[in-house]
Point group: C2
Chain length 201, copies 2
């Protein structure tokens, strides 16, 4: 089965849109999704930004909220901007890396994004993360401790460096097995079609 890497950042609102639909669309396209959380912060910093462009450029930020409202409504998705934007998604991303090893990264990621952009919760709060873990029947206390492991911390740094070295500058991004990069939830269908087609060759 062809594979598509799904690069996302836990603080990214447009990542929410893809998180909530990529599994269904990938199944229809016959494509396997590889979930790749990373941090946009270091990549933005390298571009001279100390926060989201939606904060740096207010007209763009206002538009983004309206765009999110319209798209969420058309897809029957709840949408609530969290009180702190962008949220600190560091710990969520570290937990997700453990989930990638153990097979629960997809439901964990969905639970976090539903909390963040579906209900407007602050995903930097341990209680929000613990609730998501417990909701999956996982041992939240143990996993919260393991997320502080230097090996996990380093893996997130490495994955972020990999994103940057492969040309990623925003989220969500998608990379096919033949190296095509697609950026934005509005390119998801195109990325899946490319992934399915490139494997046929």
């Amino acid at each position: 089965m062809p594979r598509l890497e799904f690069w996302y950042e836990f603080a990214s609102n447009y990542s929410y849109l893809s998180v909530m639909r990529i599994s269904d669309l990938a199944r229809q396209a016959g494509v396997e999704v590889i979930w790749k959380p990373f941090l946009l912060g270091p990549i933005f910093k390298a571009q001279g930004w100390d926060t989201s462009p939606f904060n740096l450029y207010p007209a763009k930020g206002r538009y983004m909220i309206r765009d999110m409202q319209r798209i969420s409504e058309s897809r029957g998705l709840p949408f609530v901007m969290p009180p702190t934007f962008p949220a600190n998604g560091l710990k969520a991303a570290r937990l997700a890396l453990i989930g990638a090893d153990e097979g629960w990264i997809e439901p964990f990621t969905k639970a976090i994004f539903e909390a963040e952009f579906g209900r407007g919760e602050d995903i930097a709060q341990p209680a929000v993360l613990e609730k998501a873990l417990a909701g999956l029947g996982l041992d939240a206390a143990s996993l919260m401790a393991r997320a502080e492991d230097p090996v996990i911390k380093q893996r997130l740094k490495d994955q972020t460096a990999e994103a940057q070295s492969r040309g990623i500058f925003g989220a969500p991004s998608f990379i096919t097995e033949d190296g095509e990069l697609f950026w934005g939830d509005d390119r998801l269908e195109q990325a899946l079609a490319w992934a399915a087609r490139s494997k046929e060759k």
Copy 2:
């Protein structure tokens, strides 16, 4: 018939994509297009940018070219990046305002974008503009002179100020009669559907 304002900048590559398809899509949707050229330069400058974000952020710029290639190919459109990007589209925009009064703004705009992004020509060159005008059976020499009229210059400034005051921060942008703003060629279908729907209410 419901109307949709189409705000575009002559140097904008993504405006090219919309220029080449908006008339057909609008006809299908039963929507009238109001062609509104403006300048992104002053709006970018207000955000602290002295050139296109595709130049300021190289990873984004490289991605944009590949994105344009893929989309153009899928639509059967030629795509050649012009030697100078962003081009100086000041004179083209002034001419387009005359064309808005005289009924030839649509074919003129298409001819300019075909030269710029279909063949990679520099639309700051008077010869390119004159050829486009002559190709429409217009008096190129007379129009090139009229484009220097202070009244026309002021109208372009006013139209650019209007774009900014209405929340536009990039091109192409679309505004419906009930004031909804959509940004990007990838929102064109959504903007047309909104325009058609809002009129029904």
